[in-house]
Amino acid sequence: MSIKEIDRVIPVTRGESVKTRERRSVVKPKRWKRYEPLAIGTIAVGAFLGVWQAAATANMTAKWMPALFLPSPTDTADAFVKLFTDPRQNIWADLGTSGFEFATGYVGALVIGLGLGLAMGWYTRLQYALDPFVNFLYSTPRIVLIPLFIIWFGIDWQSKVAVIFLGALFPVIINTMAGVRNTDGALLRVARSFGASEALIFQRVVLPGAVPFILTGFRLGVGHALTGVVVGELIAARHGVGKLISDFGVTFQTPKMFAAILFIAGTGMLLTWLLQRIEGRFQSWRPQIKS
C-alpha cells in the first residue's frame, strides 16, 4: 500500500537528547538555555567555515592541489556577490527561467495532487484504479524520464515543468490521501450518529483533519521540485540556475559554482522553513509539545 510510504521528515536539528527530555526540570531554566540549540549550531558552522578557510589558505602556499579544487569561503562569498552584481552575468534571466519553471510545475503539482489525493482518499474504488499508476511512477526516479521529456517537449521550459510537476506530484497525492484515510473512526461515528451528510462529513471532519498531512506533502514536494529544476537544467537547457552550475563546472569556475549551489540550497531551506511555519499555524489546536 502506498499510504504507508509517507516519508515524513523529522527535522534533525530539533529537540534535546532523549535523556534530558525524559526528565522534567525542577528549577526554572536559565534564559540562555533557549538559545542553546542556535548557539551550538552557529559555533559548529563557524568552526566548519574556519577550518575550510584555513585549509584553502594553506593550499594557496603549499599547493597540495590546484586552487580551483577548493575555493575558500571568502572566494565563494565574493563569487556570490559578483553573481548578482556583474552585468555580464545576466543572472536574472537564469533566475527568471528557473523560478518560472519551478512555480509552474510546483503549483500545478499542488493543485492536481491535492485534487487527486482527496478523491483517491475519499473514493476507495478510485484509489484501487489509480494505485498501480501512482506506485509505478512514485517508485521510478522521475529523473529517468527527462530524456523522454526532452524528446516530447524540447529543451526549453516545458520539459522542466513536466519533470518538476511529476516530482512534486506524488508526495502531495500520497500524503493527501493518507490524511483523508487517517480520519479518526470515532469522529466519523459521531458525525454519522448525528445524521451528518457525506458532504458535511467531508468538509468539516475529513478535510480539516487532513490539513496537516496535506501541508507535509506540500513541504516534501518542495525538495522533489527543486531537484527537478536543477537536474533538468543540468541535462539540457538554455537558461536556468542548473544550466549556470553546469556552465561554471565545465569552465572550471569553482567559486561561482559553489555560490550557485549555495543559492539553490538556500532557496530550498527557505521554502521548507516557510512551509513549516504554515504547518505550525494550522496546528495551533494541537497540544503544545516542547520543541
Binding site: 479518526d184 470515532a186 469522529l187 461515528r189 459521531v190 458525525a191 454519522r192 450518529s193 448525528f194 445524521g195 451528518a196 451528510s197 458535511l200 468539516r204 471532519v205 480539516p208 483533519g209 489546536w285 494541537r286 497540544p287
Partner: protein
C-alpha cells in the same frame, strides 16, 4: 404487549457481524426484548463483551439489526435520527474545534437550527454542564472529565426524544466518575428525558437508573430487569444505603451466574 407509555420497544432484536478474519457470522445480540417507558432512565449492565454497546448502536441506528424489531414512538429505527442523540464512550471531539464549536457540531450535522438560535442554546448547555469560561478551549487542553461534559452538551443541544449513553464515564478516574454521575443526575432531573445508559459499573447503573437491565453474556439477551426504588433526587450517599447494597448484590449474583456458565463452543473467550 406494548404498554401505553412505552417509548422504545425492542422485540427479538438480533445483531450479527461478519468477521472477516475467521470468515464467520458473529452473533453479538440475540433476541433482546425490552421496553423503555417515556421519561424512564434505564441502565443496561452485563459482562464484558455481552453486546450491550452493540445493542445501543442499533438503537442509535448506526448498525442494522438482522432480525426482530426496534421502534421509537412506534416508528421503526433504521438509521440515525433527530429523535436520538448519543453520548459516546470516547468523547469524539473535533480536535481543531473549540468547546463551543464541538458543542455545536451535533445540531450543525442535523441542520435543524438557525445559527443564532444554536449559538444561544449552546451557551446555555455549556453553562448547564459546567464549562463556563472554557468555550474557547481546544479539546487537547481539557481533562477527560471536561471532554465528556462537551460530549454530553453536544448531545443535549440536539434536544432528542431519547438520550443514549455508551459508558460515558468508563475512562474517567473514580472521583471524577462519581462527580460526573452526580451532575448527570442533576441535569437529567431538569428534563427527565428518556435515557438508555450502558455501563459495566453496577453501582453506577443503580445510582443513575429507574430500572437496571442485566444482559446475559454473548450473545446478549435480557436476563434480568430490576426496578430501583430509591427516591430522587439521589445524592452520592445513597450508594451506602442498605437498599442500594441489596440491589447491588442481586445484580452482581446475576452477572456471576452468567460468568460461571459454560463458555460457548464457537469463538469461546472472544470479547467484542
Amino acid at each position: 404487549m406494548r404498554t401505553a407509555s412505552a417509548k422504545l420497544v425492542a422485540s427479538g432484536v438480533v445483531v450479527e457481524y461478519w468477521l472477516a478474519r475467521s470468515e464467520a457470522l458473529f452473533t453479538a445480540v440475540e433476541g433482546v426484548d425490552l421496553e423503555v417507558r417515556d421519561g424512564e432512565f434505564v441502565a443496561i449492565v452485563g459482562p464484558s463483551g455481552c453486546g450491550k454497546t452493540t445493542f445501543l448502536n442499533a438503537v442509535d441506528g448506526l448498525i442494522p439489526i438482522a432480525a426482530g424489531s426496534l421502534t421509537l414512538d412506534g416508528r421503526e429505527i433504521s438509521a440515525p435520527g433527530r429523535d436520538r442523540a448519543m453520548v459516546f464512550q470516547q468523547p469524539g471531539l473535533l480536535p481543531w474545534r473549540t468547546v463551543l464549536g464541538n458543542v455545536l457540531f451535533g445540531v450543525e450535522a442535523q441542520g435543524t437550527m438557525t445559527k443564532g438560535e444554536a449559538l444561544e442554546r449552546a451557551k446555555q448547555q455549556i453553562e448547564l454542564v459546567g464549562l463556563i469560561g472554557f468555550e474557547d478551549a481546544y479539546p487537547g487542553e481539557l481533562s477527560g472529565g471536561m471532554q465528556q461534559r462537551v460530549n454530553l452538551a453536544r448531545a443535549l443541544l440536539t434536544d432528542p426524544e431519547m438520550l443514549l449513553l455508551d459508558e460515558p464515564f468508563a475512562s474517567l478516574d473514580a472521583q471524577t466518575r462519581e462527580m460526573m454521575q452526580l451532575e448527570l443526575l442533576k441535569i437529567w432531573n431538569r428534563s427527565r428525558k428518556t435515557a438508555l445508559f450502558i455501563t459495566h459499573d453496577i453501582k453506577e447503573a443503580i445510582y443513575l437508573a429507574d430500572r437496571v437491565i442485566v444482559f446475559t453474556k454473548r450473545p446478549g439477551r435480557v436476563k434480568d430487569s430490576l426496578e430501583i426504588e430509591i427516591p430522587r433526587p439521589r445524592d452520592l450517599r445513597v450508594k451506602r444505603d442498605p437498599k442500594f447494597l441489596g440491589y447491588e448484590d442481586r445484580i452482581w449474583d446475576s452477572i456471576q451466574e452468567e460468568l460461571a456458565a459454560k463458555p460457548e463452543r464457537l469463538l469461546a473467550g472472544m470479547t467484542a
